[in-house]
């Protein structure tokens, strides 16, 4: 690239331009966060801590909760439920989607249920889940599984249907049978759809875990946020919300890195 694209008269060397672009890239995000924190702080000066605790208060509370282990315990409980329910949902949703996409009979059979249940939010099943599965871990995991399985299945079906029919013809004329066609063409073609489904499902699992924990859990970030009510600790609520945000960011990052690393050639 040339360095002649600026306004006439001003000529900066290329390295300076590059440095400026880099500096902009790394500084704007953090500066924006800083500004947000400042705004929050100013707003908290004019309200009561019960209504809006200041960032500093929340920070101190977070440190306390880290020190006594309650924050990590909550994060671990929620993270474990999400990971388990989500993984089980992906493990069932992918093969289900492949079979439904590939065999119209199976699709016709399962379709009415999928179309019916996918509009019912998992939260609507919390009560039933507790009645049927009890108050234990399995209830929360089952609800997250339910959240995940639909999204992954529907995305995988879309992926299977989007397989280029010419590629299937090519595979057939190169000697593929029904099974090798599935393993060597359909599955690899569908990977990007599966990854997208899994990522969306991860986001929705966070919604579900909080509502499930609010209704029926002693541990977890949802339970922590709900318990704060009994002690009038708005700062706990803030710690819980921030922890959720960070946890979600970390999960999504890990998922993206893993899929880029392992599934790069299928994108």
């Amino acid at each position: 690239m040339s360095d002649t694209t600026q306004s006439p008269g001003v000529r900066l060397p290329l390295s300076t331009l590059r440095f400026k672009a880099m500096a902009t890239k790394v500084s704007v995000g953090p500066l924006s966060v800083l500004a947000g924190l400042l705004l929050w702080h100013v707003a908290s000066l004019y309200t009561s801590p019960l209504f809006l605790p200041s960032p500093l208060t929340v920070w101190r509370t977070a440190l306390e909760m880290l020190a006594d282990g309650s924050l990590l315990e909550s994060v671990a409980a929620s993270a474990w439920r999400i990971a388990a329910g989500w993984a089980a949902g992906v493990a069932v949703g992918v093969p289900l989607g492949v079979f439904m996409g590939r065999f119209p009979v199976i699709r016709l059979m399962v379709d009415p249920y999928i179309e019916f249940f996918r509009f019912i939010p998992p939260i609507a099943f919390v009560t039933l889940a507790v009645i049927w599965l009890g108050p234990g871990e399995i209830t929360k995991i089952a609800l997250i599984f339910y959240t995940t399985v639909f999204i992954v299945t529907l995305n995988t079906i879309a992926g299977v249907k989007a397989v280029n029919p010419l590629r299937l013809q090519a595979a057939r004329s190169l000697g593929a049978n029904a099974i090798s066609e599935m393993t060597t063409v359909i599955l690899p073609s569908t990977v990007p759809f599966m990854v997208t489904g899994a990522r969306i499902a991860m986001g929705n699992s966070f919604l579900t875990v909080v509502s499930a924990e609010i209704v029926s859990a002693q541990t977890g970030l949802g339970a922590m946020i709900w318990t704060a009510r009994n002690f009038a600790r708005t700062d706990w609520v803030f710690v819980g919300i921030i922890a959720l945000g960070i946890l979600g960011y970390v999960f999504d990052r890990v998922l993206r890195l893993a899929s880029n690393k392992l599934l790069n050639r299928y994108q």
């Binding site: 280029n164 010419l166 590629r167 013809q169 004329s173 190169l174 000697g175 060597t184 690899p188 050639r265």
Partner: protein, 262 residues
């Protein structure tokens, strides 16, 4: 590699109620290079897909005297779109695909792939992915992927149609060489008269659809590699152009596009 004979006996193809191709009779000798030439939409690709075994037909299609009932390893297919290469496999893995399906050991696979990658001039690009190659290179990769199976018949559906003129010329000459080295039978669909003249032993001109059939068959009895500037070539070109011109005009008239001047 040995070419196979192909025999089309009263072949018709329909989609639902629409008869696309009707009553095609054609005998193709082993090792012959046949070009199917005709206006676009006339059903040449449909006929090719039928020989490939992708479509059910009325009548009979036989390859080496055994009836075609579906896709088979004896007939390789080169598609117009290089999209049929698997983007998640390297060029080498794409070329080795057929051998891998049949469980050929890795070493033998590698040796054979090297041979066919060399034949199409892609040795240097073996470890690249299709998206990293130009259109012409991708088509050559497709040809190598088909040839490695050593098919008796290679069916090509406008394989150079999407390429620029220069690349197309180079690949036409290469295909001519590969065909003579391999001895396989080739059925090649095109709407480019020059391309047909350069490559074919016989040019089969098809009528405009629907109910497309064979209009004329022109034998090109000229030595390879051919000189398109020779007087025989020019005379053949004129004849084919007039044959196809009439069909194109009819096709356009059917679509209501071309009114004869009053």
């Amino acid at each position: 590699m040995q070419g196979a004979s192909i025999s089309l006996d009263h072949v018709g193809i329909s989609f639902g109620d629409a008869q696309i191709v009707s009553n095609v009779n054609l005998e193709i000798r082993p090792g012959e290079f046949i070009c199917l030439l005709g206006p676009s939409g006339c059903g040449k690709s449909t006929l090719l897909n039928a020989i490939a075994g992708f479509l059910p037909v009325q009548g009979r299609i036989e390859v080496n005297e055994s009836p075609v009932t579906g896709p088979g390893l004896d007939r390789g297919v080169v598609f117009q779109s290089a999209e049929v290469l698997f983007p998640w496999l390297t060029i080498r893995e794409n070329v080795e695909y057929g051998l891998r399906l049949r469980g050929t050991p890795a070493l033998a696979r590698r040796e054979k792939a090297d041979h066919f990658l060399g034949l199409v001039g892609l040795t240097h690009a073996a470890e690249k992915f299709p998206a990293q190659l130009s259109g012409g290179m991708r088509q050559r990769a497709q040809i190598a992927r088909v040839l490695i199976n050593e098919p008796h018949v290679v069916l090509m559906d406008e394989p150079f149609g999407a390429l620029d003129a220069q690349t197309r010329e180079v690949l036409q000459v290469e295909l001519d060489r590969i065909w003579r080295e391999s001895g396989c039978t080739i059925v090649f669909v095109t709407h480019d008269i020059w391309e047909a003249l350069l490559l074919a032993d016989r040019v089969v001109v098809m009528t405009a659809g629907p109910r497309a059939g064979i209009k004329t068959i022109e034998t090109i009895d000229l030595p390879h590699p051919r000189d398109q500037g020779s007087s025989e070539c020019l005379a053949l070109f004129r004849r084919l152009r007039d044959d196809i011109g009439a069909e194109v005009k009819q096709a356009l008239r059917q679509q209501g596009l071309n009114r004869e001047p009053v």
